[in-house]
Symmetry: C2
Subunit: 457 residues, 2 copies
């Protein structure tokens, strides 16, 4: 076969020779390394030495994070008639956090070492006798409550009236807008308000890559129901949410729903379950689903003086809706999808790294690859790109050998590579390579969109 | 005709009787009122008396804002091969803002009244002799520079090493990640990095609804070019960006490109133009397009000690890329689209309010309306909804008279209403009503998706 051949398997890794078992630190290191190398995640402000465990999402990361959020939005808002969206302000007044309880209770117990001045979470110190930083003995102050909300001032004067907090969760935006949404949307319970957006928590010990960061992105639903339907909707949302992760590719063995026991439960909650993923360091929370009863609306009614009860015209009764809250982390979900998708296999004596991402969340759905940079191929590959890029996020890569470009797309999780070769100029067909099987199909350009549409969501 | 008739024009406002001329305060009031009534924009924390000119985007507003941002992303990232995306952290260290010049220069001159303590922007006071608040004479302090960045602390100790700023623009995220993106994406100049996200400026005088708010959303592109191509790419992006607003429905008479004169130009810029929209109170900036030369990368190279020059292998030359920056406001663009789309017309003695939004940015593309709530129609209308909602954001509304529901969808800017009536059960067809012409077509359910696909992007 010549190098213009329609079948590029000679330069392709070939059939899989069996995946490797990867786990623990080794897997974590590989995923973090791939994230940096392939443009998923960069340490924030890296040229200035980084900034306190903050991260930026690079070209591929921003596409994948958008896809995760869009998949959630599609499932929770677009495909339902009983949920509407919201996008509330991050800056918010103390009154909201007083009503919600965050000002009083959203705290960690901190102790200071009087010798070196270092500050620690008391509950993270195994031994209070000796400072882990300077070794001083019995040097700790008593524990003080440290509020985890970021505080700033809005307006020209740094006075108490100007205090604003960066929201530590998106949820309160839905509660304080409950009446506004009810009036404008004309929905009635059971119905929900959904929001995707950034939240901020001044964590004392961020860590595990993007799992725990001070700035993170949430996907939250507050679902308002008649009080006697709380239990059934709680069960419903537990099932739905586990299913969402399963459908997007988290294997059953790495996913579990864990009900909080009595000690873990908030005083107002009658039931909370965490959707947990088996991270390389152990089980970690992706999402919490809580039956919050009427706590939130009642608190805001009391503190604001605005009646947030609902009058049901059909039954003639008035009640404060109960709230079922599935609250997911977008950034840590993305991390779970990356870890679950990471795979290595031996192919012809070389290691192929491939992200077996669900097509819906893969950064690119299609990569168009002209076999060479020659002008004749560029024209056709641009034509092919023009057919697909309006419909699917597509990459176009014309440098390096075709084998190396396949490997690059494997590492990005691109489900289909479309190769334009010199035969394409004659037969008006292209080679479509499947990421997972590495199988190649010769497809007429005129049928390409249909071919891909059958295989992509 | 019976009330089950396929033609619903008897309950429809009928043919337009000529639009009204609306302008100034009257137009502004109507748009603001519609935004609240129909769930586009709510005052933030309204049940607590609002919060310092902050706003929340309601069910329809969040859809429209997403559409505006997605239209930008599609045009700037998805449909191009020379631009990649980024999503950088909002919390950022002082080092970035020292290098960018924001710590020193991003200030307003403020004066205090020594009698009442009120603080004013010096350049907004017409007469420095008398306090506009308390009337005291000659009571002002000298002007002091007030930095417009929001300041907070990351970590458990409020010390200088923990100072963080909320970014006042997304642009710096692209500059500090320039080398990371270059390595990971293998792009080379001319190429761009695009970002959509929230920025924060502690404005002394926010106002004009969502035009100037302390928290707002930006859509910024930093386009890196060889130094000798700066002028031509600046011209290119000026043309492109004006065209984007035109294509999404801003009429020519309400849009202009205004070049800054020498006095307005930043010291490093060789050219800046604003895309301006004719708001009810006059021309206001939607977007600035600036030729920032090599200022940003040079500053960050100096301050970080990291070389941010680019070595061009083809020409064998090394240079610091020049930057062309089209920086748009997402929230104020949404406001401009709303104002431009707002229309009223007299129809059969009644006023029809209609948002003539481009379909791409309308909150819903389709509304499915069963003529009555009867079970027989619900089944078919759910079937119809199932055909369209996977592809287009769709509303489903089954309460009130069909005429009132049409009016509601007109006010939301929904391009097509699909009405399921009792005839639909027999003829397997639905009535599709066009928002602008109010014309009605009877379309077989089997052909509905095709019919809409021809008319919607």
């Amino acid at each position: 076969m010549s190098d213009t051949a329609a079948d590029h398997s000679a330069t392709d890794p070939g059939a899989p020779a069996g995946g490797r078992e990867l786990s623990g630190t080794a897997l974590m290191d590989k995923v973090v390394n791939l994230c940096k190398r392939r443009g998923f995640v960069f340490p924030s402000a890296e040229i200035y030495g980084g900034f306190r465990s903050a991260y930026d999402y690079g070209p591929e990361g921003v596409l994948m994070l958008r896809n995760v959020k869009d998949a959630w939005w599609r499932s929770m808002v677009q495909m339902r008639t009983d949920v509407v969206g919201l996008d509330a302000s991050i800056l918010s007044p103390p009154a909201i956090w007083e009503a919600s309880g965050h000002l009083q209770n959203f705290t960690d117990p901190l102790v200071d070492c009087t010798k070196c001045g270092h500050r620690f979470r008391e509950d993270h110190l195994e031994d209070l006798g000796t400072c882990p930083n300077c070794g001083a003995k019995d040097s700790f102050t008593g524990a003080r409550a440290f509020n985890l909300m970021f505080k700033t001032h809005a307006g020209p004067v740094e006075e108490s009236a100007a205090v604003a907090y960066l929201r530590p969760e998106t949820a309160q935006g839905m509660f304080v807008n409950f009446a506004n949404v009810l009036n404008a949307s004309r929905k009635k319970p059971p119905f929900g308000i959904a929001q995707v957006g950034k939240s901020f928590r001044n964590e004392i010990t961020p860590g595990n890559f993007v799992f725990r960061t001070r700035e993170f992105e949430q996907m939250e639903l507050e679902f308002f129901v008649p009080p006697d339907q709380g239990a059934q909707w709680y069960e419903y949302w537990c099932r739905e949410r586990v299913q969402w992760y399963r459908e997007l590719g988290i294997p059953e063995a790495s996913l579990r729903l864990r009900a909080h026991d009595a000690e873990e439960l908030s005083h107002y909650s009658t039931g909370t379950s965490d959707v947990e993923f088996l991270f390389p360091w152990g089980w970690g929370e992706l999402e919490g689903i809580a039956n919050r009863t009427d706590y939130d609306l009642t608190q805001h009614s009391r503190h604001s003086g605005v009646d947030l009860s609902y009058f049901d015209q059909e039954s003639g009764s008035r009640y404060v809706p109960h709230v079922i809250e599935p609250a997911a982390g977008a950034t840590r979900s993305m991390m779970a999808f990356l870890i679950a998708a990471y795979d290595e296999e031996e192919v012809r004596g070389e290691t192929r790294v491939v992200l077996r991402l669900h097509p819906r969340i893969a950064p690119y759905k299609v990569a168009v690859l002209p076999l060479s940079k020659k002008e004749t191929l560029t024209v056709t590959s641009r034509e092919v790109l023009g057919l697909v890029q309006g419909r699917w996020m597509s990459d176009h890569d014309e440098t390096q050998s075709i084998g190396r470009r396949y490997r690059r797309q494997d590492e990005l999780g691109t489900p289909y590579c479309v190769t334009v070769d010199f035969d394409s100029l004659e037969d008006r067909a292209v080679t479509v390579r499947d990421r997972d099987s590495m199988a190649q199909d010769r497809v007429p350009i005129a049928e390409l969109v249909g071919f891909l549409a059958e295989r992509l969501p």
